[in-house]
Structure formats: structure tokens, C-alpha cells
Amino acid sequence: MTKLILLCDDELPILRAVEFKLRKVGFSVKLAQNGEVAWAVIQEAAPDLIVSDYQMPILDGLELAKRVRENPATQHIPFILLTGKGFELDQEDLRARLGITRVLSKPFSPRELVEEATKILQSAEYGSESAAEAHIGTS
């Protein structure tokens, strides 16, 4: 089944480039220009992966991640954070506190992003399958 990726960035050229690359690999992609729009899209149809910029108007990437983690229906969705900040962010803390799966520093390589996305989605699939097996095993 085609995986759905939500892509959120206030920079249109980045949205366009990453969308182009992800579609080429066969992912289906939804776009949002800020966290608020992204949240609305997520609630409509939960994506398999969220790729979001950090600094955006109205609702930034970390606030979006917080909403995603606080909602039971979306809290399992893996989250890749794109950021121009880098050294100012504590990646361990972000992982522990907001479940940020991966942080990619700008300027990033779309090729690398596709590789990361594929890896995360595969392990998420494997993780959910094994979780399901474990669940069956205990019942």
C-alpha cells in the first residue's frame, strides 16, 4: 500500500523539491505551509510519516509535534524535523520529550531525506507487526 507522507514547510521551493523526490520514489504526499494547516490535514487522514520544518509562522514544527504526540489517534506517527537551527536543538531531548524520530539540518539532501523516510517507514511497519504479534501472543 502506498505510504502517505505529510510534508510541512513555509518555504515553497523546499516543499516542491521534496514533494517531487518523494513522489518519484512512489510515496503519496500531502503539503502544508504551516503547523496549523498540517494539523488540519493530519486530522482528516493520519499520514504514515510527518516531515516538518521547525521555524514556521502561526504554528511551528515543535508545537505541531506536541499536538501529534498528545493526541491518541496520532501519537504513533513518526516525525522527521527539518531545521536551520541544528546545534541549538538537543536531539536527545527532542526524541525523549516529543518523539522526534530524526532531525535533519538545513540545507539537507532530498536524497538523504528519502532514504531516512524509507528506513523509518520500514521499521515502523516492522515495529507495528511485531507489536501486533506480541499482542496476539499474550492474549
Partner: protein, 495 residues
């Protein structure tokens, strides 16, 4: 001889005549009886009478001398008491017999008294001058202290405030210090917290950082400088404290703003770089058709331009700081410069579905300008308007002829500015708090624009705005007298 002396002499002569007559009468009566007794009696009467007259004459002279002497003493005393520092030369004093020594002593004492009073009077005058001067100096010091932006306090050994400049009074919320023995600040929380911190210090002559919230809930950052001193210099007395609160909030803010600036600049640079890198990689990796290829190349070009504009802003600001801005002014049409700016910014407005309109004056608006700088100013204003206007909003660029100026304005239907922000948006690195989440920015665009308009072109920039409704930035540049004026006149404008 005075009339008084003549009177005394006449009286004495009369007495002498009376005595002689009495003696003759005694003698005449005695001769009738015979024998020596009448002669003796007459002689006795004469001698006694003469003695009496003589005595009277002598004592009257002495009394006169004494009286004159006393009068002179009184005169001198009066003169001394009246504060006449230089004694008028009086009559030469003639002392009664036997009174010479005491008379001279008295005179000497009066002279000493005079000198003493003279000294005292001079001392009093000096003291008055000094007191006036001290009052003046105290007033000067108080007004100088009041000029200082930092709060200054003197607190005595009983924790009473003896000196507080206006900054200190304002900070602590005190009115005038009207009592002589200082003002008690028992109920003043800020003062009590300050004194509690000072009491905890091991060394009294020191400094420490103090931050907190004041009565109006404003955050303050102070470096507190404390000096202990004893007003009378006595080791045993209770020491007073001189306290200066050096406001470091501006320094702290500046550092914070600088850090934010570096972060914002790197973000601003990384955004176009990220675009360039992504599209270069796409072109290298993917097999794309020609249309897509053209689209990617155009995007790369626009991102490179964006990066270039940012670097130019940064460089120009650095040049301003270093004072090495090179300005090349010539006659230009303001409308042409504005059209160029609109051409650069139109794609950005379209991207956000912003209704971007140009309402340029049909008149020729000649300005003597550095084209590149004025273009940068116009682009900065348009870029801000587009950045802070939500999707679907409206931005209008207008130009018009004014009496002395060629003016243009950029009006938007964006988020708007508070009155305080209107005052501060032209400060370097200042970023409106509520705008930080709206769009990235360096806080450089407006200060640079202001510099270009006001310092380089002798014009002026103003802003009017309403929160939630939008802002209008108005730029006025002195008009060049391009049509009829000589070149010399034209060049002199704004140069």
C-alpha cells in the same frame, strides 16, 4: 576750654570770694575782742575754705576727665557692638589720676573686643558664603544624580534612605524624601529585598547581579554596586551604604538580540541554500523533462538572488557601522526605481496570493539618489509588507509629488504594529515579539532602510499602523530640481 569748665571755674572763684569775706568778717569781729584767736580762726576758715574750694576744683576736673573718658569708652563700645570694624579715632583719652593703668587696660580690652567681633563677623560672613555654596553644590549634585539613568541611593545605618535620585525614586516608587533623618522604607518590598541581599554579603564593598520584577511587573536586570562609608569618619559609628543600581537590562537585551540576530541570519541564509542544494541534487539525480528542468533552474536563480540580497543587506550594514558606505548619487526618476522594486517583489506577492498594486504618480518625480541603495530600501519595505501580510491580503505601492519631496509609501493589510513597536521597528536587531513566529527576519531591513532614506538621501521615513489592520511606511526624498534647475542645484540636494 569748654563752657562747662568755665562754669566750674566761675563757681570755684565765687566760693573763694565767699570764704575770703567770711575770713575778713571773723577777723573784724575778733579784733574787737583783742587777742590772737580771731586771726587763727580767720586763717583756719580761709585754709579750710580754700581747701574745700581747691578740692572741689580738683575733683570736678577729675570727674570731668572721668566722664569724658567714660563717654569715649561708651562711644567706642557702641561702635564696636555696632559692628564697625574700624574704630573711628576719638578724642585723645586723658585718664583721671590713678586710673591710668586700668584705663589703658580697659581701652585695650575694648580694642580686643573690637578685634574679636570683627573676626566673628568675618567668620560669620565666610560661614554664610560656605553654607550658600554647600547648598548650591548639594543642589548641583542632586540634579546631576537625577540626570543619571541608573538608580543611586544612600542608606544610613538605620536602613533609612537619605539620598535617592529620581531614577531610584521611580524604581522604588518613592515620592520626595522630605524628612531630615531619611525615609523609612519598611513596607517597600523592592527595597527590603535589595537590603536583604546586601545584608547577606560578606564583603560590603562589592557588586552583585540582581534581577526580578518591579512594581509594574517589568523585568529588571541590575548590577548592584555597594560601598560602605562612615559619614563622620568615626570607626565606631554606624556605616552608611552608597548603592548604585547599574541597569544591565539593555546590555542583556543587546546580547540576547545579537544572539537572535545570528540565529536569524543563519536561518535566512540556510533557507535559500537549502533550496539551491535540493534543486541542484534533483537536477543531478533525476531525469527530468525540459519544462521541469527550467522550473528548477529558475528556482535556483531566485534562491541565489535572495541569498545575494541578504548578503548585501548585511554588508551595507557593516559598511554603515564602519563608516565606509560609498554613495554614488545621480538624477533618477523615483517611479523607475519603484517599478524595478515592484518587478523584483511581484513573484513573492503572487506566491502568497497577495493582491499587489502599484499606484505610481503620473508626474515625473526627480530625485538625486544612489539608485542601488534606494532600490534596496523600496525592496525592503515591500518585502516586509508581503512577509507580514497573510495570504490573500493586499499590498499597495504608491508614489506622489509633494511640495519639497518626492514621496512613496507601502501600505499593507498585514498584522500591524503597536504604538511602541512603531517607535522601535527602526532599531537595529529589534524584532516585534508577535512577528517572530510569523516570518523569519534579521531585524536589519528597517534600520538599513531608515539609514538609506535619512542619512544617505536626507529624506525621512515614518510609519503609521494599527494592530490587526495593517501598516503604511511613508518615505519622502527631497526632490531634485531636474527640469529647470541647474545641475549644480540638483546635485546639492541631499548630498
Amino acid at each position: 576750654m569748654t563752657r562747662q569748665q568755665m562754669g566750674t571755674l566761675f563757681r570755684n572763684l565765687c566760693c573763694l570770694g565767699g570764704i575770703s569775706a567770711l575770713s575778713i568778717a571773723v577777723l573784724t569781729l575778733g579784733l574787737g575782742t583783742g587777742g590772737w584767736e580771731p586771726w587763727v580762726a580767720a586763717a583756719a576758715v580761709t585754709l579750710f575754705g580754700t581747701a574745700v574750694v581747691l578740692k572741689s576744683t580738683v575733683s570736678s576736673k577729675e570727674r570731668e576727665t572721668t566722664r569724658r573718658w567714660l563717654e569715649e569708652l561708651v562711644r567706642r563700645l557702641e561702635s564696636v557692638v555696632a559692628g564697625k570694624t574700624v574704630l573711628e579715632p576719638g578724642v585723645t583719652l586723658e585718664f583721671p589720676k590713678g586710673y591710668d593703668d586700668i584705663g589703658r587696660q580697659l581701652t585695650r580690652r575694648i580694642e580686643q573686643l573690637g578685634e574679636l567681633i570683627e573676626g566673628l563677623t568675618q567668620a560669620q560672613a565666610v560661614a554664610e558664603i560656605r553654607a550658600q555654596k554647600a547648598t548650591m553644590v548639594a543642589r548641583q549634585i542632586a540634579s546631576v544624580l537625577d540626570l543619571l539613568p541608573d538608580p543611586v541611593l544612600v542608606v544610613n545605618g538605620f536602613d533609612r534612605v537619605e539620598v535617592a535620585n529620581s531614577a531610584a525614586r521611580e524604581f522604588l516608587g518613592l515620592k520626595e524624601l522630605d524628612t531630615d533623618d531619611g525615609r523609612s522604607c519598611v513596607g517597600n518590598e523592592l527595597f527590603q529585598e535589595l537590603m536583604a541581599r546586601i545584608r547577606r554579603l560578606k564583603i560590603r564593598d562589592t557588586q552583585f547581579d540582581w534581577e526580578g520584577n518591579d512594581g509594574d511587573d517589568h523585568r529588571f536586570h541590575f548590577r548592584v554596586l555597594v560601598r560602605e562609608w562612615r559619614p563622620d569618619g568615626q570607626e565606631s559609628s554606624l556605616p552608611s551604604l552608597a548603592i548604585v543600581l547599574e541597569d544591565t537590562s539593555s546590555l542583556t537585551n543587546l546580547r540576547k538580540r545579537h544572539a537572535e540576530f545570528v540565529s536569524a541570519v543563519s536561518h535566512e541564509m540556510k533557507a535559500p541554500l537549502a533550496g539551491i542544494r535540493a534543486y541542484v541534487e534533483l537536477l543531478a539525480d533525476e531525469d527530468v523533462d525540459e519544462t521541469t528542468r527550467d522550473e528548477f533552474v529558475t528556482t535556483i536563480e531566485s534562491q541565489i538572488e535572495r541569498l545575494q540580497r541578504l548578503i548585501e543587506n548585511l554588508l551595507n550594514l557593516a559598511r554603515i557601522e564602519a563608516g565606509i558606505m560609498k554613495v554614488k548619487k545621480q538624477n533618477y526618476s523615483l517611479n523607475e526605481i519603484l517599478e524595478d522594486a515592484a518587478r523584483v517583489m511581484r513573484p513573492h506577492a503572487e506566491q502568497k496570493h497577495i493582491d499587489f498594486q502599484c499606484e505610481l504618480s503620473p508626474l515625473y518625480l526627480g530625485v538625486v539618489a544612489d539608485r542601488d541603495l534606494l532600490l534596496q530600501a523600496a525592496i525592503n519595505l515591500l518585502s516586509n509588507a508581503i512577509k507580514y501580510t497573510p495570504d490573500g491580503g493586499k499590498v499597495v505601492l504608491r508614489s506622489r509629488m509633494e511640495e519639497e519631496y518626492a514621496a512613496f509609501e507601502v501600505e499593507d493589510t498585514g498584522v500591524g504594529l503597536s504604538p511602541e513597536d512603531c517607535q522601535r521597528v527602526f532599531e537595529r536587531f529589534y524584532r516585534v515579539e508577535s512577528h517572530k513566529n510569523m516570518a523569519p527576519g534579521t531585524g536589519l531591513g528597517l534600520p538599513l532602510t531608515k539609514h538609506i532614506v535619512e542619512d544617505v538621501h536626507g529624506g525621512r521615513i515614518t510609519v503609521r499602523s494599527e494592530l490587526g489592520k495593517g501598516s503604511t511606511f511613508v518615505v519622502e526624498i527631497p526632490r531634485a530640481v531636474a527640469v529647470s534647475g541647474s545641475v549644480g542645484r540638483a546635485v546639492s540636494v541631499g548630498s
